[in-house]
């Protein structure tokens, strides 16, 4: 069990090729930072518990020489108990600060006029396809083309059940709800081709509800719009 844990720790250290931890946009970078940051803070907890656990189990195990020992009663220790209240509280406060900052910035919202200027794209999810509609009215099914380096503002809406829009390299999920429009922003995507998918179970064809994302240069995007 511990071997598995250490092995994957090594994997995580060297494993910057894990999709989510190898972000291709500013939005995804902030999220990846939060994930790695919290991972290391949490490793403090894991390591502490594992060391105490291993030590106590080994040291106080039943052996023939300890057969007749009647352990002393310990009712508790108020100082120790306060210690393991205070330290976790401190760790959580450290975690909470960046979480609040990033969450405030990134949380998807029911449509309000976005103050940020950016490329607006309407996204419609329906069982089991994605329709992307650009500002000049150009539409394409299951393929999203966006320019690199810009702010991409997605207005998402579903025609039937709840779906969830997800491109792991570019950012987290945002649900696609029937009856109301949600706005989500992807900041500064990098050039490349990525796979997007539906992350909320939506019925029979859920697995196949994927789409392609192409992040291209600004000129190429302008060309694409007029194709």
């Amino acid at each position: 069990m511990k071997k598995v844990f250490l092995l994957s720790l090594v994997l995580l250290l060297t494993g910057c090729n894990i999709t989510v931890l190898d972000p291709k946009s500013e939005t995804a970078s902030e999220q990846a930072f939060l994930i790695t940051f919290s991972f290391w803070i949490m490793m403090i907890v894991v390591v502490t518990v594992f060391i105490l656990f291993a030590r106590f189990v080994w040291k106080y195990r039943y052996t023939n020489s300890r057969k007749h020992i009647l352990p002393k009663d310990v009712k508790g220790n108020i100082k120790l108990e306060i210690t393991w209240i205070i330290i976790p509280v401190l760790l959580l406060i450290i975690l909470a600060v960046p979480t609040l900052a990033i969450t405030y910035d990134q949380s998807p919202e029911w449509t309000k006029e976005s103050e940020d200027a950016g490329i607006e794209i309407d996204v419609t999810g329906k069982q089991f396809n994605w329709l992307f509609r650009h500002r000049n009215g150009k539409e394409e099914m299951d393929k999203l083309v966006i320019p690199e380096g810009e702010s991409i503002i997605l207005n998402l809406r579903s025609e039937d059940v709840i779906h969830s829009f997800w491109v792991p390299e570019l950012g987290g999920k945002v649900d696609v709800m029937p009856g109301k429009e949600l706005t989500y922003e992807i900041k500064h995507p990098q050039r490349g081709t990525y796979q997007g998918k539906c992350a909320e179970y939506c019925g029979l064809g859920h697995t196949d509800m994927t789409f392609q994302v192409e992040v291209v240069s600004t000129q190429a995007y302008a060309q694409y719009l007029h194709q």
Partner: protein, 639 residues
């Protein structure tokens, strides 16, 4: 497979045929054994019983049966996911969706719940010195309602009508326009009936723990499992009521075309709120009793009293309370806005604090003790590091912006399997090995128990650890396949191997039970050198316990009496015991609800009305007969 019956062409999927064949074969074997060994009387006896230990056994029996069924579902899921672009049997698309729906629903409602309620039913009265649960009739009714609901849900599969909306049943997918088949009705009514039973049992446990403790057994002397059961029962009372309301509204949406969860007035997000206001406390309903079991076991086998009893109780209460304030962390991506998301991120993080207190108190209970590595203790020891891994990923998930990435991926699958298996499943196993002598009078084989423990624990980590990484690689939940280009083949293959190792570990349990009951070696009332009151009664626990009633002067009173080598003081001046009268009525009441549900599911309203009439007739019959008459004599003064 195509069949032609009376000129009709019937298409029956092969998995359904396999299920029918195996159930009929098992039925024939079981029926043969029961008749040959002349045990029909025992079956009848258990159908009428109101004794807490026997009802507990029924809960455990069916919990374990469903555990095997849901476990087979899990193995089928893992087989389909073993290699990229797999085409295993029928389990792609619809059938795969049915698989994960059944696996989740069964494991939560029909495995974890009855196993825990079974252990509470058996152990709580014995631990606090109660002679039975406060309302034996209601206890029996609670079980049979659970049974009727679980039977109803399970039958769907044999009719090829399995629900496919996921165990969360999100609207609007669960509304009739998107899942028009009868499958979702099986989900709605199955959960509704069994949930009602669960609420009754929770009420029963609350009253029992508050009113029927032994003299001197104050709240500050109560074993932690009893404490956990008390708090859990309050959680059930609130959470399952919310679930009942949600299911009720969904039923109206489906059957009668109301618009609670869609349209202009309704909103699918209402379902998510209701479901998770139930669903998150449910997680603690599953975890708290297990915490209680581990507390008792760690203390018993370290030969030391629990470290920091006061903070242990306080943290149970606090976890239960905070459990109701975090439900939106399942809904960070719904778009409730930054203020809501941050608020619920903070409350979620806060739960880590009382949970952390418990972990350290368990560790410090072992410190300075003499740790005996019995099977129940091994499960408790396996729990601590495993649960901590699941706990820290829980904190990571609570960071709402990070959760945008984690949400609905295999990372979440890994997280909740880590916490639920570590707490509930290991806890139930620990409890079963620990109280098996009290339940049956026999002790399970220790050597096989250890084999079970190690294979299960190793299999569990091999299965779920890689899922953290597949999730971060971008594998969503509830997809039946992935491509080679996703680069997650090896990790998925490892998970599948682990799942089969867990499957194999369960064979040790079957073998162990068989061997134990073949050997028939009776044990004493106190085989583990226990600390609490259940070890003062003989094994198995008799129908009439605590005569005379012990008087309690400290926590772990039995242990300190043994240390001082003095018997526990006793008294005969006690509260009247709850009256037990065998009755088949609970079974009939539950079955009449089963009939109502069948009628509503298939829109055979005459059948639903028939079931309803039956139900009311039974309720009237119950309220005009006084079962206490032949005990107290006919009189009005006790009314």
């Amino acid at each position: 497979m195509k069949l032609s019956v009376f000129g009709y062409e019937l298409v029956i999927p092969t998995d359904i045929i396999a299920a029918w064949v195996s159930v009929i074969l098992i039925g024939i074997v079981a029926g043969y054994i029961i008749i040959k060994k002349r045990k029909l009387g025992v079956v009848w006896d258990y159908m009428k019983t109101t004794n807490h230990r026997k009802i507990g056994i029924l809960y455990l029996l069916f919990g374990i049966i469903y555990f095997f069924r849901a476990g087979v579902d899990a193995l089928l899921i893992r087989t389909q996911l073993a290699v990229p672009n797999n085409d295993f049997w029928v389990f792609q698309g619809e059938k795969y969706n049915e698989l994960f729906t059944t696996h989740g629903t069964l494991m939560i409602f029909f495995v974890a719940m009855p196993l825990l309620l079974g252990l509470m039913n058996i152990a709580v009265p014995l631990q606090i010195g109660a002679k039975d649960l406060a309302f034996p009739f209601l206890n029996s009714l609670g079980f049979w309602l659970f049974f009727a609901g679980s039977l109803f849900f399970n039958i769907a599969f044999f009719l090829n009508l399995t629900p496919e909306v996921g165990w969360t049943g999100y609207a609007p997918l669960s509304r009739a326009e998107f899942t028009p088949g009868a499958g979702t009705e099986f989900y709605v009514f199955g959960l509704q009936i069994s949930g009602l039973g669960t609420i009754f049992t929770a009420l029963n446990l609350i009253v029992t723990i508050i009113r029927h403790r032994a003299p001197g057994m104050s709240y500050t002397r109560m074993p932690l499992f009893a404490w956990a059961s008390l708090i859990t029962s309050f959680l059930i009372l609130i959470a399952f009521t919310v679930l009942a309301i949600a299911l009720y509204l969904l039923m109206f949406d489906r059957l009668f075309g109301t618009g609670f969860f869609s349209g202009d007035e309704g909103d699918p997000v209402f379902w998510q709120h209701l479901f998770w206001i139930f669903g998150h406390p449910e997680v603690y309903i599953l975890a708290l009793p297990a915490f209680g079991i581990f507390s008792d076991i760690i203390s018993t086998f370290s030969k030391k009293r629990i470290f920091g009893y006061g903070t242990m109780v306080a943290s149970i209460v606090l976890i239960g309370f905070l459990g109701f304030m975090v439900w939106v962390h399942h809904m960070f991506t719904v778009g409730l806005g930054p203020v809501v998301n941050t608020f619920f991120a903070i409350t979620t993080m806060a739960i880590a604090i009382p949970t952390g207190i418990k972990v350290f108190n368990w560790l410090f209970t072992m410190r300075g003790g003499v740790i005996h590595f019995t099977t129940p203790m091994l499960f408790a020891l396996g729990f601590i590091p495993s649960f901590v891994i699941g706990g820290v990923t829980g904190v990571m998930l609570s960071l709402s912006a990070a959760d945008f990435q984690f949400h609905d991926t295999h990372f979440v699958v890994a997280h909740f399997h880590y916490v639920i298996i570590a707490s509930t499943i290991l806890g139930v196993f620990a409890g079963l090995y620990y109280w098996y002598p009290k339940i049956t009078g026999y002790m399970l084989d220790e050597k096989l128990g250890k084999w079970h423990f190690w294979t299960f624990l190793i299999g569990y980590h091999i299965t779920f650890f890689p899922m953290h990484i597949t999730g971060l690689e971008g594998m969503p939940r509830r997809v039946y396949t992935y491509s080679e280009a996703d680069g997650i083949f090896i990790l998925n293959a490892i998970s599948t191997v682990g799942a089969f190792l867990m499957g194999i570990s369960m064979l040790f349990v079957i073998w162990n039970v068989y061997k134990t009951h073949k050997k028939k070696k009776k044990v004493s009332g106190d085989p583990w050198d226990g600390r609490t009151l259940e070890w003062t009664v003989s094994s198995p626990a008799p129908e009439h316990t605590f005569e005379p009633m012990p008087v309690i002067h400290s926590m772990d009173a039995y242990w300190y009496a043994k240390v001082k080598n003095k018997p526990l003081p006793a008294t005969t001046n006690v509260r009247v015991k709850p009256l037990e009268r065998d009755s088949i009525q609970p079974f009939c009441i539950a079955m009449s609800l089963f009939i109502v549900s069948t009628g509503l599911t298939f829109r055979w309203y005459w059948l639903a009305i028939l079931g309803g009439v039956m139900l009311f007739a039974l309720l009237i019959l119950r309220s005009i007969t006084d079962e206490r008459e032949d005990f107290y004599g006919k009189s009005d003064d006790h009314a």
